[in-house]
């Protein structure tokens, strides 16, 4: 003990103790922390997923939708919108809203992981009954009738989303977005929950098989080749007119000028 007692006032001691303590604490945290998530997944049931969802909700959503999802002047109530609405809005990047505007635009970057979204969906679903996230079985359109889906699409969807699913304008800067990048899941969730200006097409109005048929038709539109050549964005006569003026007439008049040049 003499050895230690003699050197305990040495200037190195304080630094050495500090480094030692940091290594011990940091090492222990790293070792224990790595284990924690696995344990959490095992131990935590639906209750804590809802709690986690609530935490995320309070951080990201409550400023507009209210602390209990009751809604405020800037955001509607989320009681009864169901898990499908949360999954649609958050997974497509529409929520959280980046800035107030005519309508929430879809974003490619999404700050939330699938797990986070599931937690928030569970929390909102717990606020009141609403449409659940569609199951894989519901989404399976493999055996659906595409042509019938086309008829349903033209009756129910084309007046806003355009016959080719390219999207269309609504009033005051609102719009029906293009469906060209939508997955079967987002298509079905949109029909179930009626996001933004879209009406709800519940399973009572459009049974699951009809939704599958519509999904099948939209996927067909997304994958369709263009038998007539360049498709000009499938916007109809407007882009055809633009092409006529800018490309075809430029070529024709260039030819006329070429022929009209005086031979010298």
């Amino acid at each position: 003990m003499k050895f230690l007692a003699a050197r305990r006032r040495s200037p190195i001691v304080a630094s050495a103790l500090l480094v030692g303590a940091l290594v011990t604490v940091g090492g222990a945290y790293a070792a224990l922390g790595a284990v924690e998530p696995a344990q959490a997944a095992l131990a935590v049931g639906a209750e804590t997923q809802v709690e986690k969802g609530q935490q995320l909700y309070l951080e990201g959503c409550s400023s507009c939708h209210g602390l209990k999802g009751e809604g405020t002047q800037t955001g509607p109530t989320l009681v009864g919108v169901g898990a499908a609405a949360v999954d649609f809005q958050v997974s497509t990047g529409r929520m959280p809203l980046a800035a107030p505007g005519a309508q929430a635009p879809a974003k490619t970057e999404n700050p939330y992981s699938e797990e986070d979204i599931a937690a928030m969906a569970a929390f909102v679903a717990a606020l009141g009954p609403g449409p659940a996230i569609p199951t894989a079985e519901q989404l399976d359109y493999a055996s659906a009738d595409e042509a019938y889906g086309g008829e349903l699409f033209r009756i129910n969807c084309a007046q806003c989303h355009q016959a080719a699913g390219q999207g269309g304008a609504l009033t005051q800067g609102k719009y029906a977005p293009s469906l060209m990048g939508s997955s079967p899941k987002t298509i079905t969730e949109a029909m179930l929950t009626g996001p933004q200006n879209m009406p709800v097409f519940s399973d009572a109005q459009l049974p699951v098989e009809d939704k599958q048929a519509i999904t099948s038709y939209i996927v067909g539109l997304q994958e369709a080749s263009s038998p007539g050549g360049l498709n000009l964005g499938r916007f109809g006569p407007v882009t055809e007119g633009v092409f006529l003026v800018t490309a075809i007439f430029a070529a024709l008049i260039a030819a006329a000028v070429w022929i009209g040049i005086k031979s010298r």
Partner: protein, 582 residues
């Protein structure tokens, strides 16, 4: 006559054989040498003619397969997304042409593209004729025929757009029916007459088919023939230039030059249409689906030439009034944009040559074209009309623009409501000022020659820009301008105090004439031009020694950047001496 090639022999023999039976030699010898003037803008009408020929050829092919019937069938062709769908026979056969007839889609697309080109070419041709004043005496009737051709072109296009009975064509017909219904008093009955009862009925496609493939093309062909015969007998107008007068035509003969040029241009137009028809989709009817009266697609648009009407409809405020007592509704929101505005546009278009002739009081024949700048009011009126048309056109695409540029459709509508009133007068003023500015520049060129961009310092230190005399061609082009004086104001009564009964009409004519010709940059007199060109020649003469320096082997009299004449002082000392001496 000593050497004759075998080709000439056979050709001559054939010509004699035909001539003895038809009497064609006299006609051919008189006409094959006919001279046409050369300018690229004279070929715009040819684009219309050639694309019309392609429309006819491809259209004949389509009639072999198209079934103009509204009978309902179940689709069983090769386009899977419509398999088993109930549709009209017309749509079914149009799908078959697209997917199951060999080369059908190519010809359908060529037919559609060439129809779009046909109408656009007529419009551009009409611009050329308007802005160069080619519609003036003796060509007023041909202008009227042109307006008729354009109108029939629109009808031909719209009837063709409506035939396939897809969702887009049905939507267009629904709007057309609404427009017919908006006609006061007879509207409803006229709509019943057209559609044989309620919309869409079962008769309309077959009725429209006859109109589309027989009536309108027949009328267009007849009018085209008269149009070309008039061009032939009246001879083509030409731009001013050296040796070109109102009484001659300077150019190349029909055979061989124009046969080759026009023939080659036909193949170019045909080739471009075939290329586009093969490579670029037009009207993909399979995407739109069959027409059902309870369905509509967002972004439903007419083809480009009806776009201005659609735009007018979309931009018009929703006014309507009910006549008290009888309870009849007058839909101003449809009546004004769809009937009154196009009515005014086409009436003014047809009457314009007569209005201008009346205002001008000019009874001469005009075979020499105006340069647009030399008729500033006409050019400005034309640009004003085009700006109005283009704004309406933008209105027709308002929803596509809203989506594409992330704008509010309401803002676009209000933007157009305001600009439709504000912009055309602005365009009028700007165009007229621009024309007058160009006239002023022309006058300047006549009076001083053109600016060569070379600055010359004269011996006494003055800087001048060297002006060069105009070429003979430029002088001929610029001096071809005719200065119109506004007609004098009429008197209310003559010297004997007899009231002038035609005072009002004459006053209107005077005011219009003042409006047309009140602002003008007068052409300089011949003497002024002579003096101006002489001045330019003088400048050039001053500069001439400089060229000698450029060409000389040694530069020894060029001092301090100043050109020296022999005997001139070269140094300050010499200069002082010279001044003291004088």
């Amino acid at each position: 006559m000593t050497t004759t090639s075998p080709v000439e022999k056979v050709g001559g023999a054939t010509a004699t054989y035909v001539d003895q039976r038809v009497g064609s030699n006299k006609f051919l010898s008189r006409n094959l040498g006919k001279v046409f003037p050369d300018h690229w803008s004279f070929m715009l009408g040819e684009i219309a003619l050639y694309s019309f020929i392609v429309v006819l050829l491809t259209g004949v092919f389509l009639t072999l397969w198209f079934k103009p019937s509204m009978a309902e069938v179940v689709y069983d062709g090769s386009y899977v997304p419509l398999k088993g769908v109930l549709m009209s026979e017309a749509y079914d056969s149009a799908l078959n042409i697209s997917f199951d007839v060999r080369g059908g889609l190519l010809l359908r697309q060529m037919h559609h593209w060439s129809a779009l080109i046909f109408i656009a070419a007529m419009a551009v041709h009409m611009f050329r004729v308007f802005f160069t004043g080619a519609f003036r005496k003796p060509r007023e009737f041909n202008w009227l025929i042109g307006v008729g051709l354009t109108t029939f072109g629109l009808l031909a296009g719209f009837s063709g757009y409506s035939l396939p009975d897809d969702l887009l064509s049905g939507t267009g017909l629904q709007i057309a029916r609404g427009i017919v219904q908006a006609v006061p008093v007879v509207g409803t009955w006229a709509a019943f007459l057209l559609f044989d009862g309620e919309f869409p009925g079962t008769e309309f496609i077959s009725r429209l088919y006859g109109v589309h493939i027989l009536l309108i093309p027949g009328l267009i062909l007849a009018l085209v023939t008269i149009h070309l015969m008039l061009v032939w007998t009246q001879k083509h107008t030409q731009f001013p230039g050296p040796g070109r007068t109102n009484d001659n035509v300077v150019g190349y003969p029909l055979l061989p030059v124009y046969m080759a040029k026009a023939g080659g241009f036909f193949f170019i137009v045909f080739g471009i249409i075939a290329l586009v028809g093969g490579l670029v989709t037009v009207n993909p009817i399979w995407i739109f689906g069959p027409y059902m009266p309870d369905q509509v697609s967002a972004g439903s648009q007419p083809d480009w030439y009806i776009g201005f009407l659609d735009g007018a409809l979309r931009t018009m405020p929703n006014w309507e009034s009910v006549i008290p007592g009888v309870g009849w509704t007058i839909s101003w929101n449809i009546l004004i944009p769809a009937l009154v505005i196009p009515g005014i546009i086409f009436t003014l278009l047809g009457l314009y040559p007569f209005i201008e002739a009346w205002v001008t009081g000019d009874k001469r024949e005009h075979n020499l074209l105006d340069r647009p700048r030399n008729a500033p009011t006409r050019t400005a009126l034309g640009m004003m009309a085009i700006s109005f048309y283009v704004l309406l056109w933008v209105g027709g695409a308002n929803d596509i623009i809203a989506v594409a540029f992330d704008l509010s459709i309401n803002s676009i509508i209000w933007f157009l409501r305001i600009t439709l009133i504000v912009v055309p007068p602005l365009v009028f003023v700007v165009t007229r000022r621009t024309c007058l500015g160009l006239q002023r520049r022309d006058r300047e060129k006549l009076l001083h020659g053109y600016e060569s961009g070379r600055i010359l310092r004269l011996p006494h230190g003055e800087f001048i820009e060297v002006h060069q005399p105009l070429s003979e061609k430029d002088i001929a082009v610029i001096t071809a301008k005719h200065d119109y004086a506004p007609l004098p104001a009429p008197d209310k009564a003559d010297v004997d105090g007899v009231r002038n009964k035609r005072y009002r009409a004459q006053m209107l004519r005077h005011q219009l004439s003042e409006f047309f010709y009140g602002v003008n940059v007068p052409k300089p007199s011949a003497a002024e031009i002579e003096a101006g060109q002489h001045h330019a020649a003088h400048d050039a003469a001053i500069e001439a020694p400089l060229h000698e320096y450029e060409d000389a082997d040694q530069i020894h009299t060029f001092h301090g950047g100043v050109l020296h004449h022999p005997g001139m002082a070269e140094t300050n000392a010499e200069q002082l001496q010279q001044e003291q001496r004088s």
